[in-house]
């Protein structure tokens, strides 16, 4: 007997669904493994475990049991919500419009997996809390129902907000405007009404809420029509933008779609004006040639765009501060003192912008650089390597120069010494710019995270130490300046022995 060349599955529908569901549920794991990112998944998992496990363990150790049980329950729920968010993100990526349109049962399987997982998590939360409260001598059923309905709602909202990102806006606004009396009264009254209804019919209300949410949840998936295709394309664009941003490759405004393009128009005009200017003033001198080459090399991270953005951000923050002092009557000094941690982080990030973005920009423009190096007038060899390095460092110095007024204002406000100590380690990190560009590789998330992590850690540590010993601030600043000078001098000399910088990444 010969085997049928075309295999027809004779298994019942229910038996076929499990492999489908299993493949969908395991997709996050498989994709991460295929991308070689298992170490990152383990790292993030360990960090999440630490961040959630430590408070839970501390609560069990120090708090009374009922309160500790609540802390442990919240920690477990946050962990489950993270898994749920990850899974929904993957299911939405699997929800490709062409597949939905052409593969029988695919859309149905996605909906079933999402619903099943949601119900499973809700049941788990409800049962565990009911059992725990029951064991502690409380009303287990009631608690289980409350937890189930609460968990269901939170997970449901999370799924919808992952599908429609703009839902975060009303959610955030809802919390932000809680201070307004009218809104607060409305929220409180609605909450009281819901509580009253639930108290009257807890089981019925819970089932009703779950049924309603269960009916709505599948709408996050599409039907394979034009609307689905547009929504999927938009989500993919956002996903790519987010992935690129988290890997230190800030995309151009146009990558955000039409809105992004529209918002980026002023910067585009500014960049066009600069391009026209440098082309009009063109001479064969290396300076003029490099100024033109820089437009292409640094692309969306060209200094004209970066500095104008930094100035705009500072202007907006200044206007917000002025408006707040005017509205609240609080002095600027008090506001700056209160927000010095956020301001320190913001200033350090802005100081690191060039370091974070320019290597990525070089990588992105590497194909264009193949044409640039063939242009008459372009320096070659070490001269080119140093010219590129100088252009990068100049941009970094400009970023610092633009920050100085803000830094001076914060120092004037009183808590500024801590801010200075926090920002100072960004200075020696500038040497990170002067890597061997010819061996540059595409920056991954880890590559992008390292300098930020170093800056945050060193900044936090130095701010902590100098707040304990304020007299150490000036020597500390001097050490940072000397360290930066030493590192840069070493790298500058090292460039003599490096291959020509452009095209970047060709030896990587």
């Amino acid at each position: 007997m010969t085997a049928d060349p075309v295999a027809h599955s004779s298994a019942p529908v229910a038996a076929r669904r499990w492999p489908q569901s299993r493949a969908m549920l395991l997709a996050p794991w498989h994709w991460t493994r295929n991308d070689g990112g298992l170490w990152a998944l383990r790292l993030y998992g360990a960090v999440a475990l630490l961040l959630l496990g430590a408070p839970a363990a501390a609560a069990l150790w120090w708090m009374p049991l009922p309160l500790a049980a609540v802390v442990v329950g919240v920690a477990i729920f946050v962990g489950l919500a993270l898994v749920w968010g990850l899974q929904i993100g993957v299911l939405l990526r699997l929800d490709h419009p062409r597949v939905a349109h052409t593969v029988p049962g695919h859309a149905r399987a996605l909906r079933a997996v999402a619903l099943g997982l949601w119900l499973g998590l809700v049941a788990l939360c409800g049962l565990v809390s009911a059992l725990a409260v029951g064991l502690l001598g409380g009303d287990g059923l009631r608690t289980g129902l409350v937890v189930a309905v609460g968990a269901a709602t939170l997970l449901w909202v999370l799924a919808l907000a992952i599908r429609w990102w703009w839902l975060w806006v009303p959610i955030c606004l809802g919390f932000s405007f809680y201070g307004f009396a009218a809104w607060r009264h409305l929220v409180v009254a609605s909450w009281a009404w819901l509580q009253q209804q639930w108290q009257a019919q807890p089981v019925l209300m819970t089932l009703g809420v779950l049924l309603l949410q269960g009916l709505v949840l599948p709408v996050i998936f599409g039907h394979g029509d034009g609307r689905h295709a547009r929504a999927y394309a938009s989500r993919e664009r956002w996903r790519k933008v987010t992935a690129a941003s988290s890997a230190g490759r800030m995309p151009a405004w146009a990558a955000y779609g039409l809105w992004g393009e529209w918002l980026g128009l002023p910067w585009q005009r500014l960049a066009n004006a600069w391009l026209s200017w440098v082309c009009r003033q063109a001479t064969p001198s290396p300076r003029s040639v490099m100024a033109r080459a820089e437009v292409v090399m640094h692309g969306p991270h060209h200094w004209v765009r970066q500095l104008s953005t930094a100035l705009l951000v500072q202007l907006v923050v200044a206007l917000c501060l002025v408006a707040t002092t005017w509205q609240t009557g609080l002095s600027l000094r008090v506001l700056l003192e209160g927000g010095h941690v956020g301001i320190s982080v913001g200033l350090a990030s802005m100081a690191l912008t060039a370091v974070m973005t320019l290597p990525g920009a070089l990588w992105q423009s590497r194909r264009e650089q193949a044409l640039l190096v063939l242009l008459p007038g372009m320096p070659t060899g070490t001269a080119l390597t140093r010219a590129v390095a100088w252009r990068q460092m100049r941009q970094c110095l400009w970023s610092w120069a633009v920050l100085l007024p803000a830094l001076a204002t914060v120092v004037w406000a009183g808590k500024g010494w801590t801010t200075l100590a926090y920002v100072a380690p960004a200075l020696p990190l500038s040497a990170w710019l002067w890597r061997d560009a010819s061996r540059l590789r595409e920056s991954g998330q880890a590559g992008a995270v390292v300098p930020i992590l170093l800056c945050v850690l060193a900044g936090g540590l130095s701010a902590f130490l100098t707040s304990r010993a304020p007299g150490a601030l000036l020597p500390w600043l001097a050490v940072m300046v000397l360290l930066a000078a030493g590192l840069l001098a070493w790298r500058w000399r090292r460039m003599l022995h490096l291959p020509q910088a452009l095209p970047a990444g060709r030896l990587g």
Binding site: A254, A282, V295, V373, L375, P499, R506
Partner: protein
């Protein structure tokens, strides 16, 4: 030496013993020798992954070689002076470059670098190829991007034009236009042209020389009409075929053993040699040569 004579005798491109590998991987170019003489129009043929792009990049100095010598107009490619760079035009494989510029900005940008710029040619081609000057390159179609890339490379009237699959995204009309431009404007000027493509009919129209690339080397380079006249696919028993090759003084380019002691040999006969009556020898097409030699 007379400058004119020097220019005429110096190869436009001279590669000798060039070896290039990526990282610790196998060598892509293995001791490759290649010369392009002034005014030659050479079609570079090779299978996917044969290393054509690497070769074109290496001859322009965009890739460091591990061994060998690479010169363009008599200068080492690692240190080309400005005058030499002004004589080179390059169309890379990717045409979606400089995508945040408009077409007009791109051309003004490149114009600012070159001492010579044929604006009349640019205007003519822009209007003939119907490219919107004020459209961002990212929003042009693939074919239009490729046309713009070609205009940019032709605009400074280069003496050496390196084209890496320049017509891949063009429709037949676009390809015909491009080839016409190449023949009328570029080749007539005596420009040395090397271009890689998989569209053999295009090569037959304009390339007078063919270079076949395989296993990291140029295995054969010759004028196309000579190849079509002189290369024959000989079949017969091994002894018959070998005897025929020896008798005619032919060069065996490729041997393929067949069943029952028979053999097929792709052989290049000396110029003007005719096959003796009764000999089993077939004429070949460019496609046959591509299949057998790459």
């Amino acid at each position: 030496m007379n400058e004119h004579l020097l220019a005429a005798t110096t190869p436009s491109v001279d590669l000798a013993g060039v070896t290039l590998a990526y990282g610790n991987g196998p060598a892509v170019l293995k001791g490759l020798d290649w010369q392009l003489l002034p005014g030659q129009v050479v079609g570079l043929l090779g299978r996917n992954g044969a290393g054509k792009t690497t070769l074109l990049e290496a001859l322009l100095g965009l890739r460091e070689t591990q061994a060998g010598k690479a010169q363009v107009f008599g200068q080492p490619v690692a240190a080309l002076d400005d005058a030499t760079r002004a004589r080179i035009g390059y169309v890379p494989q990717q045409s979606d470059l400089f995508d945040s510029f408009t077409a007009d900005q791109l051309l003004r940008y490149f114009r600012s670098f070159y001492p010579r710029w044929n604006q009349a040619k640019v205007d003519g081609l822009m209007s003939r190829w119907d490219i919107n000057r004020h459209q961002r390159i990212a929003k042009l179609s693939g074919g239009q991007q490729q046309r713009l890339s070609i205009i940019r490379a032709l605009a400074h009237d280069p003496d050496l034009l390196v084209l890496d699959e320049p017509v891949a995204s063009l429709d037949p009309a676009g390809r015909r236009d491009f080839l016409r431009e190449l023949v009328e404007q570029v080749i007539e000027r005596g420009t040395t042209v090397v271009f890689s493509t998989h569209i053999l009919s295009d090569l037959e129209r304009v390339a007078f020389h063919m270079a076949f690339m395989s296993e990291g080397r140029i295995t054969l380079q010759a004028p196309l009409d000579e190849l079509l006249d002189e290369v024959r696919l000989l079949s017969g028993t091994t002894s018959e075929v070998q005897g025929l090759v020896q008798r005619l003084g032919a060069t065996a380019l490729k041997r393929k053993p067949l069943a029952a002691g028979r053999e097929q040999v792709l052989a290049r006969l000396p110029a003007g040699t005719q096959l003796p009556a009764g000999a089993d020898g077939e004429a070949v097409t460019l496609e046959d040569l591509f299949m057998e030699l790459t």
